[in-house]
Symmetry: C2
Subunit: 97 residues, 2 copies
DNA sequence: TTAGATTTGCATAAATTTGACAAGTCAATT
DNA sequence: AATTGACTTGTCAAATTTATGCAAATCTAA
């Protein structure tokens, strides 16, 4: 499983010496929910990203990248054609620029 | 928007001179639904892929790749960090092999 | 043990997706 | 212009998925 986002959040929270119950209310969720997000049991809502960025003083882009990577991983995990599909999307994206 | 899967299905259906109402029942859906799938208004269920492959005599892998690419595209469309995220996932995948 | 922190499990609620149907458009035919 | 056949559009309720909140359990350190 890939949980780059949750891992990063937990790291940041610990570096800032904050407890789940201190951070959770800032997102208007309860501690168990935040715990689940950090452990990857559940995906963070996209709307939380700017809040996390502000709380931990990191860029939105940094967190957004990790969050997107997790979403992408969910789609292709265990898929034999994952590589092909990723290449195809990369090309499509480049064309669009 | 990316609708590689639906486009391919429509192409295959036309090449085989089949009508929506001929193909839809094979998937146990009605024609409007199939129409929506082909036009990308709706995503095909994953379970349909082997059925499509059989109907049109193409490989599952070919269709699965297109289907996955559409799912991936949905995640990253319009995202500024799409490229970074894609790279990150590609790496993760390679590590797993 | 006790207290504080985190995790687990479950029940409900909310959101999203799906399927079915009726009505609509469009093009070709008569 | 009316009919026919193919496809599209819009809506609504059912089904599935995902989120939320709480209570209880587990873990950890003093």
């Amino acid at each position: 499983m890939s949980n780059q986002f949750g891992n990063k959040i937990r790291l940041l929270r610990e570096e800032n010496n904050l407890l789940l119950r201190q951070v959770a209310p800032l997102l208007e969720i309860d501690s168990p929910q935040l715990s689940k997000i950090e452990r990857g049991e559940r995906q963070a809502k996209k709307e939380y990203i700017p809040l996390f960025a502000k709380i931990f003083k990191v860029t939105i882009d940094e967190l957004l990248t990790l969050w997107l990577a997790d979403q992408l991983f969910d789609v292709i995990q265990g898929e034999p054609m994952a590589d092909e599909a990723l290449k195809s999307v990369s090309k499509t994206i480049k064309r669009k620029k």
